[in-house]
Symmetry: C5
Subunit: 87 residues, 5 copies
């Protein structure tokens, strides 16, 4: 999974029917506790992550498995909010 | 999903039969509101994105799921047009 | 598979039900015997890797195969501890 | 899909039986009309791309779908020759 | 597929049962005839590649297909030895 910070909500009117109703979040990836210049767009179905929160993102076919909707063209899914990391 | 700007249409006469009729777009990826030096070629079946528009691209097996054509060798699909991002 | 060092435990209360009970480790990737600035979050189900240990991580759909839980949105799994590398 | 230029033919005697008879091409990726330092090895089954031609390469499970041979360990496939890109 | 040079054997005692008996090789990727700073760990089941040899590596679900063992968490497999590249 990837770790990132929610930085925006994607507004998209013209999209696949099977994606209607899904919330798309823009997520800025974090490496070594630092925000990088890499971003990913992930669906958030059930976690309700807000702007500024740090999240776990599952990518690839794992995203569709988590959505329980194997017929939607989704390749990234917010699967949890990170409370903290214990070192 | 990835975020990018449509920058070209690929013309390809010699290609797989199962790809005939698909429109292939060249998409320049966007990170942090800036165009990067990374590009991807994605199929656009139903979104009809034009040059200059910002789009969402699903990659990997998600592309075939979205095409509803699991027998075509496609690994990237335009799944929506981005109207704006709310921060 | 990727090679990395365990550097932290992710604490996440709000996450997918199907992920409850799984241990999520933050792993810093190693290239050429040097720690890089790239990290991945992987599930550790049965290896019990501790902070500081070097591990093998399987990514993509291989992770769900290894978990024997194809319905969880997991894309990275700790599959072994590296004792040493013989050159 | 990725865009690249065919730069070589791989000669490999000792390989998986299921790969015998396949042609493996070395392809140098192109970004922004410039050859990069990234390469990929892809199977060419039906396109017959020659050295110097620009091709479309499908990656991941899409490659096996295109080969119509889901039992071969192939992760990249030449799926078309690029005639030109219209901007 | 990726191209790389075998640089080491991974010794791992504590690993998934389904991985026991597999040989794990550390492979340094090659781009443009030059060794890079990127490495991958791949299983070698039948090729018997030795230290210093250049190999083809299939990644992702292709690796499990090649192993003929879809239940092992493997994401990279040595599928051939490169004799030479004809330009």
């Amino acid at each position: 999974m990837l770790k990132g910070k929610v930085v925006g909500n994607i507004v998209s009117t013209n999209k696949f029917d099977s994606l209607k109703g899904y919330k798309f979040l823009e997520i800025q990836l974090i490496e070594n506790k630092t925000l990088t210049d890499e971003f990913i767009i992930a669906v958030d179905r059930s976690i309700s992550a807000g702007i500024g929160e740090e999240v776990l993102v599952a990518t690839g076919s794992a995203a569709r498995v988590g959505l329980d909707d194997v017929n939607s063209p989704v390749d990234a899914l917010v699967v949890g909010i990170i409370d903290k990391i214990q070192n």
